[in-house]
C-alpha cells in the first residue's frame, strides 16, 4: 500500500511545485494539478479497496519518529479512506469542471485548490487536535481564496463575512484546545478520549469551546449566514467541494471530538443537528435562488448527519453504514447539483428549465435529488430505514418525528424545483455545456448509482438493485432513444411475462391485485400505442411504478414492502408530472405520498421495536401497548394512497391533469396499492383498540365520509376528469368501508370493488381522455351531442356508468349486493347512513358525465370531430367485454377469493353452488337477472324500432321549443352548474375545508420561512453576532450537560 500520508505530501508538493513553473505555462500547470489529484484519488481508492477487504488493517501513521501524544499521528481506517476518496474525487472532478477558470487564473489558483483539498484530507486523517485546527485554518484560508474564483462580485463580500466568522471560530477553538491540553496534558484525540471522564468533570467548559467551535464549522442553523452567502456566490464547482468534501471533513472532526466528550454531549449534537435540519429545510422553502437553496440544503443535510452522529450511542454497528450512507448520498447529490448549476446561466430556479430538453441532464438531476431525499434504491434509503428503526428501538420517537418532518420539507422544495424545471411556463435559453463539465456531472451520476448498488450489497435487507422489476424499469433508460411504440411492446411484453412467471406463486389475494397490476396494466398500455414519437421519460417512470407495485404485493417483510411503496410512489409521481398543468398536483401528490410513507416507516419501526428486519406476519404479534399506534400510522400511510378524505386533496388534480393513458394507470391501478396495504394491515393486525375506541370503527367512518364527500364533490365538477377523480375518492371510500366492516362479505365487497373499479374507472378515464383529446377541452359544458360522432366512446361511458352506479344487471350491482349483505352482519350502523346517502348521489354525477358530453346539443366547433383514436378505443372495448363477463359470472374470480377469505373470517361466506349466489340473508342470480332484463329490454326495443322504422333523425337545427327555434341551438346545452339546486341544498357539505386546512399549513410554513429568513440580514457583523449568540445559547441550553454529570 502506498503511504496514506502521500495524499498530503503529494498534493502539497505539487502545490509548491507549481510555483516553479512560469506563469504562462498554464496548461502544463493544469495538467500537473490534474495528475496529482488523480494520483491521490487513486491512492485513496486503493485504500478503500484494501480496507474494505481487510477492515482490521487500519493504519496508525506516526510522524517525526515519535509516538503519540508527543508527535502528531494520523489514522487511516475504512471510514477515513472512504472520506478521502470522496474528497479527492470531488476535488478532481471539480478541477476538471473548473478547467476554463483555472486556466484563466493561472497556477496560483491551482495551488490554492490543491492545498484546499490537502487540508480537507488532513482534517479527515489527523488524530491531533491542534493539527486539526491547523488544517481547519488552511481550509478557511483556501476557501476565502477560492471564493474569489467566481465571477460574481458579490463573492467578495461573502468571503469577508466568512473570514470574520472564521476568526471568531478560531478564537473559540484555540481557547478550547489549550484548556483541554492543560487538563489532559495531551493534544492527541485518542489520548484525551481515554481521559474523557476526567476532562468532562474538571473542565467541561474547555471541551464545550472545542466542541462548539467544530460544530460552528459545520455551519449549523441559524449561525450560518456567512456560509450561505458563500454557497450563493462562489463558483459552483468550489461549492461542490465545500459542501461535499469540506462538509464531510468537518463532520469527521466532530465525530472525533465527540469521542472526547463522551455520551453526555451526544444529545447536544443531536439537538443542534435536528434544528439545522428542520430550520434550513424550512428556510429553503422560500428560496428562489438555486445556489442559495443548495446552500440551505447542504446545511440541512449536514445537520441531519450531525444528528445521526449524536445518536451513535444507539446505532451500534450500523453507525457507519447509516452515517456513511446519508453522508455519501449528500456529498454526491449535492456536488452533482452544484456542478449542474454551473451549466445554468441564470440564478433563478426557473432558469433551470434550460435542462428541459436534455433528458440525460434531467436524469442526472433526478438522480441527485433522489439521492438527497433518500429514495430507493439510493443509500439514503437504506440508511433512513435503519436509522428510524434503531431510534424507534431506543424509544426516541420525538426525534424520528422531527427527522421525518425535516425530510418532508426537503422533499417539498426539491420536488417543487424539479416540477418547475419540467413545467414552468417560460423555458430559459440553453447555456453551452462544455464537454468537461458534462463529463463531471455524468461521473457523479455513475457514482450515485454505484453507491446505490454498493449500499444494496452492504445492507442486510437484500439489494434493491437486484430486483428484476426495478432492473427492467431501468432497462428503459438506455432504450429511451427508441420510438414509443417499440418501447410499448416491450413494456407490455414485460408486464405479461412477469405475470405469467409469478402467477404460480401468488395466493388468491395477491392474484387479484397481481392480475390488475400486470395484465391490467398491459391492457391500459395498449392505449399508449396511440402516442407517436419517443415519449421520453414515460416508460422508465411507468415501469418503475409497475415494479414497485409488483414488488409490493409479494413483499414479505416490512423493508421490501416499504421500498416497493416508495418506488411506486416515485414512478407514479413522474407519470403525474407529465401532464400539462399537473405540476402543483404532482407536488401535492408526492408530499402526501411521502408523508404517508414516513408515517408507515414510523409505524413499521414501532411495530418491530427497532428491528429493521421485520416479517409482515409479525404484525400479528406487535406488543400491545404500541399496536394501536402502529395500526394508526400504517393505516394513515396507506390511506394517503387511497386518498381517504382529509388526505385526498392531491388526487383530483393529479388524476385529472395527467395524460390520457396515465389517468387510468393512476386511478385504475395505483390506488389499489393503498387498498392492498390495508388488506395486509387488517389481515395481520385485525381490530385494535385505542382508549376503548375500535380503530376499525374509525376507518368505517372515514370510508363512509370519503364515499359521501367524494361523490358530493364529483357532482359539482365541470371538468370531466376531475369528476372521475372525485368519484375515485368515493369508490375507494366504499372499499375502505368494506374492509373496515371486518367481516367476510365486507372484504369480499372490497375485493369486488378492487376489480370493478379498475375496470370501469380505467375505461371511463380512457373514453373521457379520448374525447378530451378530440375536443381539446376537459370542461364538460364545452362539449355536448357527441354521441353520433363518437359512438364507441359513448358506449363505453354508458356501460361504465351503469356499472359504477350499481344498477343491475351489470357487475356494479354485485358489489352493492355484497355490500348490503355485508352490513347486515356489521356491528355499527350509523356510518351506514352516510354510505346510503352517498349511493344515489353517484347517479347525479354519472348522469351528468354522459349527458353533458354525449347528449344535448353539439357545439359548432365539434361538428367535424372523429371517433377517438383506435388505440384508445380498443382497451375500452375490451373492458366492456370484461364487464359483461364479470357481470354474468362474478364467481369466476370471486369464489376463489371468497374461499381465501375463509381463512380470516370462516363464517358468512357465500354459497356459489349453481347459478344463484346465496348468502345468509339473501340471494342473487346474475345470469337470471341478465336474461330477464335482456329479454324485456330487447323485446321492447325491437318493437319500438320496428314501429318507428321510417322515422327520420331530427337535425339539430330543427329543434323547436315553446314554439320558437333557438337562434343558436348549441347555446341551449344545459350543462354548466348542472346541479345548481343541489348545490343550494347541500353545498355546505363541500366547503373546501380540507383544502383550506392544508393550504394554511403550507402557507404558514412558507410565511414563516419568508419571515424568519430575514434573520440573515446580509450584514457580516450580524452574522458574527449570531454566531456568538448561538454559542452562548447552546451554552445556556446545555448547562444540564455541564452540571448534570
Amino acid at each position: 500500500m502506498v503511504d496514506a500520508l502521500a495524499i498530503i505530501y503529494l498534493t502539497l508538493g505539487t502545490a509548491f511545485l507549481l510555483g516553479l513553473l512560469r506563469d504562462e505555462w498554464r496548461i502544463l500547470a493544469y495538467g500537473i494539478t490534474l495528475l496529482s489529484l488523480a494520483m491521490v484519488s487513486g491512492i485513496a481508492s486503493t485504500w478503500v479497496w484494501h480496507l474494505a477487504d481487510n477492515p482490521a488493517e487500519s493504519v496508525e501513521i506516526m510522524t517525526a519518529g515519535a509516538s503519540p501524544p508527543f508527535a502528531i499521528n494520523l489514522r487511516m481506517g475504512l471510514a477515513e479512506a472512504a472520506a478521502l476518496m470522496l474528497a479527492t474525487l470531488t476535488g478532481l472532478a471539480s478541477t476538471i469542471f473548473l478547467k476554463d477558470t483555472l486556466l484563466r487564473l493561472g497556477r496560483r489558483a491551482m495551488a490554492v485548490l490543491l492545498v484546499f483539498i490537502m487540508a480537507i484530507c488532513g482534517i479527515i486523517l489527523t488524530r491531533d487536535i491542534f493539527n486539526l485546527f491547523v488544517f481547519f485554518e488552511l481550509v478557511v484560508i483556501a476557501t476565502a481564496g477560492l471564493v474569489l474564483l467566481s465571477h460574481n462580485e458579490r463573492s467578495l463580500g461573502a468571503g469577508f463575512k466568512y473570514l470574520m466568522a472564521s476568526q471568531v471560530v478560531s478564537i473559540l477553538l484555540l481557547v478550547g484546545i489549550i484548556f483541554n491540553y492543560h487538563v489532559s496534558g495531551s493534544l492527541n484525540i485518542d489520548d484525551m478520549a481515554g481521559m474523557s471522564d476526567m476532562l468532562i468533570q474538571t473542565t467541561p467548559l474547555a471541551f464545550f469551546l472545542l466542541f462548539i467551535a467544530l460544530i460552528v464549522e459545520l455551519k449549523p442553523f441559524p449561525a450560518n449566514g456567512w456560509a450561505l452567502d458563500i454557497y450563493e456566490s462562489a463558483h459552483p464547482a468550489f461549492s461542490a467541494i465545500l459542501s461535499a468534501a469540506a462538509g464531510t471533513a468537518s463532520l469527521f472532526a466532530v465525530d472525533k471530538v465527540l469521542a472526547i466528550g463522551g455520551d453526555s454531549w451526544l444529545p447536544v449534537a443531536t439537538g443542534i443537528g435536528v434544528l439545522s435540519f428542520i430550520g434550513a429545510n424550512l428556510f429553503a422553502l422560500a428560496q428562489t435562488s438555486d445556489r442559495r437553496l443548495l446552500g440551505y440544503s447542504s446545511v440541512a443535510q449536514i445537520g441531519l448527519i450531525l444528528a445521526i452522529i449524536g445518536q451513535r450511542d444507539i446505532l451500534g454497528d450500523s453507525y457507519w453504514l447509516i452515517a456513511g450512507g446519508v453522508l455519501l448520498a449528500h456529498a454526491v447529490g449535492k456536488a452533482g447539483l452544484f456542478w449542474l448549476s454551473g451549466l445554468i446561466a441564470e440564478r433563478e430556479l426557473t432558469a433551470w428549465t434550460a435542462l428541459r430538453d436534455r433528458p440525460l441532464l434531467l436524469f442526472a438531476f433526478i438522480s441527485f435529488i433522489a439521492l438527497l431525499i433518500g429514495l430507493p434504491p439510493f443509500p439514503g434509503f437504506y440508511a433512513k430505514w435503519e436509522l428510524i428503526h434503531l431510534l424507534a428501538g431506543a424509544d426516541r420517537i420525538a426525534l424520528i418525528v422531527l427527522i421525518l418532518f425535516g425530510a418532508l420539507l426537503e422533499t417539498a422544495y426539491l420536488f417543487r424545483w424539479f416540477g418547475l424545471i419540467l413545467k414552468h411556463d417560460e423555458v430559459a435559453e440553453k447555456a453551452p455545456c462544455p464537454i468537461q463539465k458534462v463529463v463531471v456531472i455524468y461521473s457523479a451520476v455513475v457514482a450515485a448509482w454505484s453507491l446505490a448498488y454498493l449500499w444494496g450489497e452492504l445492507s442486510v435487507f437484500g439489494n434493491l438493485m437486484h430486483a428484476i422489476p426495478l432492473l427492467f424499469a431501468l432497462l428503459f433508460l438506455p432504450l429511451e432513444g427508441l420510438p414509443a411504440r417499440i418501447k410499448n411492446v416491450l413494456a407490455i411484453g414485460g408486464l405479461v411475462t412477469w405475470f405469467i412467471l409469478q402467477y404460480p406463486l401468488y395466493d388468491p389475494l395477491q392474484l387479484i391485485f397481481g392480475a390488475i397490476i400486470l395484465p391490467g396494466g398491459a391492457l391500459i398500455l395498449l392505449a399508449s400505442f396511440h402516442n407517436q414519437g419517443r415519449r421520453i421519460g414515460f416508460y422508465p417512470a411507468a415501469l418503475w411504478m409497475f415494479a414497485g407495485l409488483s414488488m409490493l404485493i409479494v413483499a414479505e417483510d416490512s423493508f421490501t414492502f416499504f421500498a416497493a411503496w416508495e418506488s411506486l410512489t416515485i414512478g407514479s409521481y413522474f407519470l403525474i408530472l407529465r401532464g400539462k398543468h399537473s405540476q402543483p398536483h404532482a407536488q401535492s401528490y408526492i408530499l402526501f405520498s411521502l408523508g404517508g410513507a414516513f408515517l408507515m416507516l414510523l409505524g413499521f419501526a414501532l411495530a418491530s421495536a427497532g428491528n429493521p428486519l421485520f416479517p409482515l406476519e409479525s404484525l400479528t404479534t406487535v406488543a400491545e401497548d404500541v399496536a394501536p399506534w402502529v395500526f394508526i400510522l400504517l393505516a394513515l400511510g396507506m390511506m394517503t394512497k387511497t386518498a381517504a378524505i382529509g388526505v385526498h386533496i392531491w388526487l383530483p388534480g393529479a388524476h385529472a391533469e395527467a395524460e390520457t393513458d396515465v389517468s387510468p394507470l393512476l386511478s385504475g391501478i395505483l390506488l389499489k396499492a393503498g387498498l392492498f396495504g390495508l388488506f395486509i394491515l387488517l389481515i395481520y393486525m385485525g381490530r385494535q383498540q385505542l382508549y376503548g375506541i375500535d380503530l376499525t370503527h374509525v376507518l368505517l367512518w372515514v370510508g363512509a365520509i370519503s364515499a359521501l364527500l367524494g361523490n358530493l364533490m364529483a357532482i359539482y365538477q365541470e371538468d370531466a376528469k376531475r369528476l372521475l377523480a372525485y368519484s375515485s375518492i368515493a369508490q375507494m371510500g366504499y372499499a375502505l368501508f368494506g374492509l373496515a366492516l371486518m367481516n367476510h362479505l365486507g372484504w369480499l365487497m372490497a375485493l369486488m370493488f378492487v376489480v370493478n373499479h379498475y375496470i370501469y374507472k380505467s375505461m371511463l378515464f380512457l373514453s373521457v381522455g379520448g374525447v378530451a383529446k378530440r375536443t381539446g377541452t376537459k370542461e364538460m359544458y364545452r362539449m355536448g351531442g357527441l354521441i353520433t360522432l363518437m359512438p364507441l366512446s359513448f358506449i363505453a361511458v354508458l356501460i361504465g356508468i351503469i356499472a359504477v352506479s350499481g344498477v343491475p344487471p351489470l357487475s356494479g350491482f354485485g358489489g352493492r349486493w355484497i355490500f348490503y349483505n355485508a352490513i347486515m352482519s356489521a356491528e355499527y350502523r350509523l356510518p351506514m347512513v352516510i354510505i346510503f346517502l352517498a349511493g344515489p348521489i353517484a347517479f347525479l354525477y354519472l348522469f351528468r358525465l354522459i349527458h353533458t358530453i354525449f347528449l344535448g346539443q353539439l357545439k359548432d366547433e365539434h361538428r367535424k370531430l372523429k371517433e377517438a383514436p383506435f388505440w384508445i378505443i380498443l382497451p375500452q372495448m375490451i373492458y366492456v367485454a370484461c364487464l359483461m363477463v364479470f357481470a354474468l359470472a362474478p364467481g369466476l374470480a370471486l369464489r376463489h377469493v371468497d374461499a381465501y377469505i375463509d381463512n380470516f373470517f370462516p363464517r358468512n361466506g357465500l354459497n356459489w353452488e349453481g347459478l344463484t349466489i346465496t348468502s345468509t340473508y339473501g340471494y342473487w342470480s346474475p345470469v337470471s337477472i341478465m336474461i330477464v332484463v335482456g329479454v324485456i329490454f330487447a323485446t321492447l326495443f325491437a318493437w319500438l324500432v320496428f314501429v318507428n322504422r321510417r322515422a327520420q333523425k331530427v337535425k339539430q337545427f330543427n329543434i323547436v321549443f315553446a314554439a320558437e327555434r333557438p337562434y343558436r341551438p348549441e347555446t341551449t346545452h344545459f350543462a354548466w352548474n348542472f346541479f345548481a339546486p343541489y348545490r343550494k341544498a347541500l353545498g355546505f357539505m363541500t366547503q373546501p375545508l380540507v383544502t383550506r386546512f392544508w393550504a394554511t399549513v403550507a402557507e404558514s410554513l412558507h410565511t414563516s420561512a419568508e419571515l424568519f429568513r430575514r434573520l440573515y440580514t446580509g450584514d457580516g457583523q450580524t452574522y458574527a453576532i449570531q454566531l456568538l449568540g448561538f454559542v452562548v445559547a447552546v451554552y445556556l441550553l446545555s448547562s444540564g450537560v455541564f452540571y448534570g454529570v
Binding site: 500520508l5 505530501y9 502539497l12 508538493g13 502545490a15 509548491f16 511545485l17 507549481l18 510555483g19 516553479l20 501513521i61 506516526m62 510522524t63 517525526a64 519518529g65 515519535a66 501524544p69 508527543f70 508527535a71 502528531i72 487564473l105 493561472g106 496560483r108 489558483a109 495551488a111 490554492v112 492545498v115 487540508a119 488532513g122 489527523t126 491531533d128 491542534f130 493539527n131 491547523v134 488544517f135 488552511l138 484560508i141 476565502a144 481564496g145 474569489l148 481557547v175 484548556f179 491540553y181 492543560h182 489532559s184 496534558g185 495531551s186 474538571t202 473542565t203 467548559l205 474547555a206 469551546l209 457583523q1021 450580524t1022 453576532i1025 456568538l1028 449568540g1029 454559542v1031 452562548v1032 445556556l1036
Partner: protein
C-alpha cells in the same frame, strides 16, 4: 444601539464562560506528561537544544508544514486577488504626488538592509540552538524588504524570484519530510542526518536545513505579501 447592547450581552455571557475557565484554572506546578517527555527526550531524540524548535520542526512538524502552507496560501491568494486587480488597471498613474523618501531613510536603509538580512539568516540558522527560528528569521528578512519598499516605493521587485524561492523551499520541506518516511521513523523525522552534538550548529539532523528553508520561505512569502500590498498604493 440595540446591536451594541446585544453584543454587550453576548460578550457578557462569553465573559462568564471565560471567568469560569479562569476561576477553575489550577496552574501546573510540574510538567505534564507531554512536557515531561519533551524535557526528557527531545534533546536525545532530536538533538536540538531549543526544545520548542524540536517540537515545531520535528514532533509537530506537520503543524509547521501547515503553517508554512498558510503563508504560502495567503501569499498566493493575495497575489491572485491583487494581480487580477492590477492587470485590469494596468495604466497606473505614474506620477503619484507623494513626497519622496528622505535622504536619511535611503542611506540608512542601504546600510541596514544587508545587516538585517544577515541577522535574519542568523536567526533561522541558529533556530535549533537559541530562541528564534525560521518564522522569526523570515519575518526579519521581510522587514528588510519592507525597509526597501519604504525607500523606493516605485521599485518593482522580482515576483519571479520570490516565487521561486517560496516554491523551492516548500518543496525541500516536503521532500525532507518524505525522506523521513523512507530513511527514518516517519514523515518529518529529522534523523535522516546525524543528530550530532547537542548545542553544535551542525546538529539536530535536518532541523537546521528545514528551518533555514522555512526562514527563506517565510521571508519570501512575507515579502511577497508586502510587495503586493505596497503595489496597491500605486494605483
Amino acid at each position: 444601539m440595540i446591536k451594541r447592547f446585544t453584543v454587550f450581552l453576548i460578550l457578557l455571557a462569553l465573559a462568564a464562560i471565560f471567568a469560569q475557565l479562569l476561576f477553575d484554572y489550577v496552574p501546573d506546578s510540574s510538567l505534564n506528561q507531554t512536557g515531561r517527555y519533551y524535557a526528557e527526550n527531545a534533546a536525545d531524540e532530536v538533538g536540538a537544544a531549543n526544545i520548542v524548535t524540536a517540537i515545531i520542526v520535528s514532533y509537530r512538524g506537520l503543524d509547521t508544514l501547515g503553517e508554512v502552507t498558510v503563508l504560502f496560501l495567503t501569499a498566493a491568494i493575495i497575489g491572485l486577488v491583487l494581480s487580477r486587480d492590477r492587470s485590469q488597471q494596468q495604466t497606473a498613474p505614474e506620477a503619484v504626488n507623494r513626497p519622496g523618501p528622505g535622504e536619511l531613510l535611503v542611506t540608512g536603509s542601504y546600510l541596514l538592509a544587508p545587516l538585517i538580512l544577515l541577522f535574519g539568516a542568523y536567526i533561522f540558522i541558529n533556530g535549533h540552538l537559541t530562541p528564534g527560528g525560521g518564522f522569526q528569521g523570515g519575518a526579519i528578512l521581510a522587514s528588510a524588504i519592507l525597509l526597501l519598499l519604504l525607500t523606493r516605493p516605485v521599485k518593482h521587485f522580482s515576483h519571479r524570484l520570490i516565487t521561486l524561492l517560496e516554491s523551492v523551499s516548500g518543496l525541500v520541506f516536503v521532500i525532507v519530510g518524505v525522506l523521513g518516511i523512507i530513511l527514518a521513523g516517519g514523515f518529518l523525522d529529522n534523523r535522516i542526518l546525524p543528530t550530532g552534538q547537542l548545542g553544535e550548529l551542525l546538529s539536530a539532523g535536518t532541523i537546521p536545513i528545514i528551518y533555514s528553508f522555512i526562514g527563506l520561505k517565510v521571508g519570501a512569502e512575507f515579502s511577497s505579501m508586502l510587495i503586493r500590498l505596497a503595489e496597491t498604493e500605486d494605483n
